[in-house]
Subunit: 411 residues, 2 copies
């Protein structure tokens, strides 16, 4: 794609009213736009990153037999009264129709998925089952100051699983925990599996915490075991598992997994007929990943104070070709290179703008943060191209004719 | 995928409280679930169809230079007051935060996209631009009786384009109109380009109407020109273009295209600096496709009273393999066939269930509506497989070893 056609705008100054590094940089680089406190639009550059994160999540969840669907975000009041959360869930946005029917705007989907699964699950033969969606959620946050880490509307992946007994639920939760570690690693994040309280959902939970000063949680970490303990539930100084000293750090929660056990099954009478002819409640689990939060945490972890930098796996484009001279053949060369890469399934952004000078292009490219730059400058006269890999922190000068081979064998 | 693992449930009886053919059949066949009047969940089978429709839309819009993004659905009240629609838009759902801030739940996104583009468009060099999203919308409908054709929450593709003058806007709208015809054709629908009024958006509009008795609109059609006139704005008996007799039919609107011209640009002061140094208002267009409505209209047009049938292009699976006997080697054979197709990028559903008899499997397969069935029954003993193509209305009996070649050359 030609940068002159891309719908974006970068800014020289830090956006006013934006304290957080993640939203500040993403606005500055044209990835998101702030609508009002805690509410953002995701622009084409940002949407490409979000989709790459979502795609990684989908691939890994499909591997463990979860099936994608889409649940409504308008939840009739009576569903939330059934669990007592119509009154007790503080951050619940509510709306009322012209016909005076009241709805909750979904902050989570237990109230919808349990009545749905009640229609599908009848016997032990219908278990286990796991379904997920990647969809927006709404939360009426009192304060929104962490950029896109805590917003009033956000994208979330929520997975729900249903089992014949507690043992099978524990087996699947373990599988999801391992899958989550893989997902975050593929997104360029080292997440620490952290023991925490269960909030309104269950008695305890597992959080996936990424160390970052921007985090809202304090956790005690054992780097030996790669295990964490949320300070909410823990105050010791030694790892429960290996006895090593723990370090207290700030971290941001990118995912969580809960054993709901029978809690919602009892509220919605979700039962099945077991092999032995007995009617039993279904054991259930729920598992979240904050997709837009992952987007923001990647910025917190990977970017400098001034410039974004994306892991190869979620970068909006694979290569950023900078055309630093005005002569026609430079742009033609860029288009040729892009075409070859695009045929290999790679995405390329070409800075083709004529009114922007070389220095500005280089700085803006750093801001946008595509990890690999291909620079067509002065030296192209001698058949040379410069490649900058910002992740490996290396610059290469190579023969033009060797470019494709070089890049293909580089990663 | 094995049908024993698929999250779905079919019903023998017509769902109560469901008058419409589309929602009735989709519930019966396990594609959607009704939550309450005008509110549905989309189950895995349905979500696969919806994604195939969305993918067709994306491919065609990307070809005409439109870029995908995601806009918020929580619209601060002041944005809607700026256009006067906070009060005048009847079907607007509203919500209020704990901090007493009021929001509209997006039924459309002009109020958000214009302030956004104001930050991006400064000069004639920034034009034209086109952006779209595929996202849920909310409308507080007084009546919801057409199944998924008119719901309180629905998936929509909305595209917005921005131009230096009316001529360029008209050029792009013409391009979108032609693209829409291609999109609907790829989805198995013959849409009629229909002249209509502009509603609250503009003085006139173009609707894409699909003839069906379930439609809520009456249009006059000239089959000669493949042109329609919505009865709202027309009462003649002859085509304006060729003079032929018109036929009055019922139709359902699957898309529309509007020239907004300067309407919203004036409200949000969206201007640009032209070549001649003059500041001018941006000419804009907006263009919708009801994604979940297309899903429903395909059912209205393609299904019988009893059974679904999907066009090849949007079927949840390409092939439905029915294993009609209990012997182990039948299922093994099915898995082998599926594997070969899946390596070719095709999706296969295998009815592997042991407790269901052959007759029931055949009937349920018709209900689910995958157009091509591969039947492994009695005759497999003699090395024969039966293939049923419900679109071509043909049955084939072929040698097992010829299956892959046969299917690959069949379409």
């Amino acid at each position: 794609m030609r940068q002159s056609e891309l719908v974006y705008k970068t800014y020289k100054d830090w956006p006013k009213d934006e304290e957080s590094k993640n939203a500040g940089l993403l606005i500055k680089a044209g990835y998101i736009e702030k609508v009002s406190a805690g509410i953002y639009n995701i622009l084409p550059l940002g949407w490409k990153v979000v989709n790459k994160i979502s795609q990684i999540v989908r691939e890994e969840l499909n591997k463990i037999g979860a099936q994608e669907l889409l649940l409504t975000n308008l939840h009739p009041k009576e569903f939330w009264e059934a669990t007592g959360r119509w009154e007790s869930f503080d951050a619940l946005f509510k709306t009322k129709s012209r016909l005076e029917k009241e709805y909750a705007l979904a902050p989570t989907h237990e109230e919808i998925i349990f009545p749905l699964m009640k229609k599908i699950i009848q016997s032990y033969k219908d278990l286990p089952k796991a379904v997920y969606q990647i969809h927006i959620k709404f939360r009426d946050e009192l304060r929104a100051k962490a950029g896109i880490l805590r917003t009033r509307e956000f994208l979330m992946k929520d997975l729900y699983s249903f089992h014949k007994d507690e043992e099978d639920l524990k087996r699947y939760k373990e599988l999801v925990d391992q899958t989550y570690l893989k997902i975050f690693e593929r997104c360029g994040l080292r997440a620490i599996l952290t023991k925490a309280s269960g909030g309104t959902f269950s008695s305890f939970s597992t959080e996936f915490q990424v160390p970052t000063p921007a985090g809202e949680d304090n956790i005690f970490v054992c780097y030996q075991c790669n295990l964490g303990y949320n300070e909410e539930i823990f105050s010791g100084e030694k790892c429960e598992k290996c006895g090593s000293d723990l370090e207290k750090i700030k971290a941001s929660e990118v995912g969580n997994t809960f054993e709901l056990s029978l809690k919602f099954s009892e509220a919605f009478d979700l039962t099945f007929l077991d092999k032995d002819g007995q009617r039993k409640f279904v054991n259930a689990g729920c598992y979240g990943i904050g997709i837009t939060r992952v987007f923001g945490v990647i910025v917190e972890v990977w970017a400098s104070e001034k410039y974004l930098l994306w892991p190869y796996s979620v970068s909006p484009f694979d290569y950023h070709i900078l055309v630093l001279r005005q002569e026609e053949n430079y742009l033609r060369e860029a288009e040729n290179i892009a075409k070859i890469f695009e045929e290999k399934g790679k995405e390329v952004l070409i800075d083709d703008r004529r009114e922007i000078n070389a220095g500005e292009k280089l700085v803006e490219s750093d801001l946008i943060g595509i990890p690999v730059k291909i620079i067509l400058g002065e030296k192209l006269k001698d058949g040379k191209i410069e490649i900058v890999d910002r992740i490996k922190r290396k610059n290469y000068e190579i023969e033009k004719d060797h470019l494709i081979h070089f890049i293909s064998t580089h990663e």
